[in-house]
């Protein structure tokens, strides 16, 4: 690397540290020319949390997958952790954790083997200790050597939560993270995802409107079709107004 490019690298890194964690302008995502997200603007400061609300088909999961670098925007600008997507996705990967509908765990591997594989892919230091800590945190230490296909949906969700935070991501993207979980497990997983003692930037998709608004700094309310009904401080959006956007479905 030349001195010039090293300087540019350091400058880019400095900008990335001070820039908003998420900066979205005019985001459109279409499937077969049908808009799923329609002209979305969004800014989220580092360390803040965002609740994404809306009925089925509002584009919430699509938004998470775009922020996770897994989907390309059809048009508009998306910057995550100071890096523009999809071009600079390699700078973002490894700093993002995604817990979605799919647990992303191999069914024929044990829980520990799955987490060990992800630890290698993310180059996690001291992986055995980290995996043991995480499994302890979600009450799954005794299940470490069980294959994923033998676990209940709730246990799979706990293991998936461990996978999502295994590499201590800067940005955490959560899609209904407590689905399938009993209240005790939900509390454990929520505590784990909450940041393990430090404040992560978090985007939370949830149909539990009251809880999501109560725990988030910002709120984004999407209508079916992906247009924005509300974007701003969570305290400025009432639970009733949010539920109205669901058409009484929530």
């Amino acid at each position: 690397m030349s001195p010039g490019s090293a300087l540019q690298e350091r400058a880019a890194s400095a900008v990335a540290k001070t820039a908003p964690a998420i900066e979205v302008t005019g985001l459109v995502r279409e499937y077969d020319e049908r808009p799923v997200l329609d002209c979305l603007d969004l800014t989220l400061a580092p360390g803040c949390s965002l609740a994404v609300l809306g009925p089925n088909g509002a584009g919430k999961t699509t938004l998470l997958r775009i922020l996770a670098t897994l989907l390309r925007p059809t048009s508009g600008t998306v910057r995550v952790l100071g890096h523009e997507l999809p071009g600079a996705r390699w700078r973002v990967r490894g700093q993002v954790g995604l817990l979605g509908h799919e647990p992303m765990l191999y069914r024929e591997l044990t829980v520990a083997e799955n987490l060990g594989l992800q630890a290698k892919l993310h180059r996690v230091a001291n992986p055995e200790r980290r995996i043991a800590e995480l499994l302890e945190a979600v009450g799954m230490r005794e299940r470490a050597s069980q294959r994923v296909r033998e676990l209940s949906a709730g246990m799979v969700q706990r293991a998936a939560a461990c996978r999502a935070v295994l590499h201590d991501p800067v940005l955490l993207l959560l899609d209904e993270p407590t689905s399938h979980l009993d209240p005790e497990a939900a509390a454990r997983v929520t505590a784990l995802l909450g940041g393990e003692g430090r404040r992560r930037t978090t985007v939370l998709v949830s149909h539990d409107v009251g809880a999501a608004l109560g725990t988030s700094d910002q709120a984004l309310l999407l209508r079916a079709g992906g247009s924005v009904a509300f974007s701003g401080p969570a305290s400025a959006l009432s639970e009733g107004d949010a539920r109205a956007a669901y058409g009484g479905a929530a």
Partner: protein
């Protein structure tokens, strides 16, 4: 290399647990040899006919494993998990190709002795056949892994893989068949021109490895 080793170890561990690919490939190969044995009604084969029987069997057995190569990545979120990691995408292609090479070597450890017992009067050509198969395995594995990744998200995966792989493997089959025919010639191996066909096989391997290296990232990205 860490991602390559991790993904290869994962695939081998899953195969050892489920035994989904290699036993099916071996059973297919042995059954095919039995069909050829009685279908051709010949006690022994030599030259291009022997080469054709061996290579066609290995090629179609390979398709069984190649079809399943990315099933777990597609069905269990493995593609997304891999893409979320700061890993070189080509390490996934290399790991998958290495897994297929290992499956094919395991298949050939069973299939070649059975082939020799069924069809060959002498085992003198087998060392040369081993060299041909080793190079053919690499080419099949690289091309197969690339095609399988492209077909993984299609509902017609089982049809697409052979439809795309068989035409692409024609140069490999031609070179391997020519070299194998010399190794299995009646009256003992004949090595005139044998090296030339090995070079063609190596060039095929390198060409498709380079193509895979260049395009795989675009195949697995949105």
């Amino acid at each position: 290399m860490t991602a390559f080793r991790a993904m290869l170890a994962k695939d081998l561990r899953v195969e050892l647990r489920t035994m989904e690919s290699v036993p099916a490939m071996a059973l297919f190969a042995v059954t095919t040899f039995i069909v050829f044995r009685y279908g051709l009604d010949r006690q022994s084969l030599a030259g291009s006919l022997a080469a054709g029987v061996l290579l066609a069997t290995v090629l179609f057995a390979a398709i069984l494993a190649i079809n399943r190569l990315f099933v777990a990545e597609r069905d269990e979120g493995g593609f997304d998990a891999f893409r979320l990691a700061p890993a070189d995408p080509t390490s996934l292609l290399a790991a998958k190709a290495a897994a297929i090479v290992i499956y094919l070597l395991a298949l050939e450890l069973i299939a070649v002795p059975v082939f020799a017992a069924f069809f060959l009067d002498s085992a003198s050509g087998l060392p040369a056949i081993a060299a041909v198969l080793a190079l053919a395995d690499v080419g099949l594995a690289v091309t197969g892994a690339l095609i399988s990744s492209m077909a993984a998200n299609s509902r017609s995966r089982d049809i697409l893989v052979p439809l795309l792989l068989l035409p692409l493997s024609i140069p490999l089959v031609v070179a391997a068949a020519k070299a194998s025919a010399l190794a299995l010639a009646a009256g003992g191996p004949s090595y005139g021109g044998f090296g030339k066909w090995l070079v063609v096989l190596a060039l095929y391997d390198m060409t498709f490895a380079a193509i895979g290296y260049g395009v795989f990232e675009y195949v697995i990205e949105d």
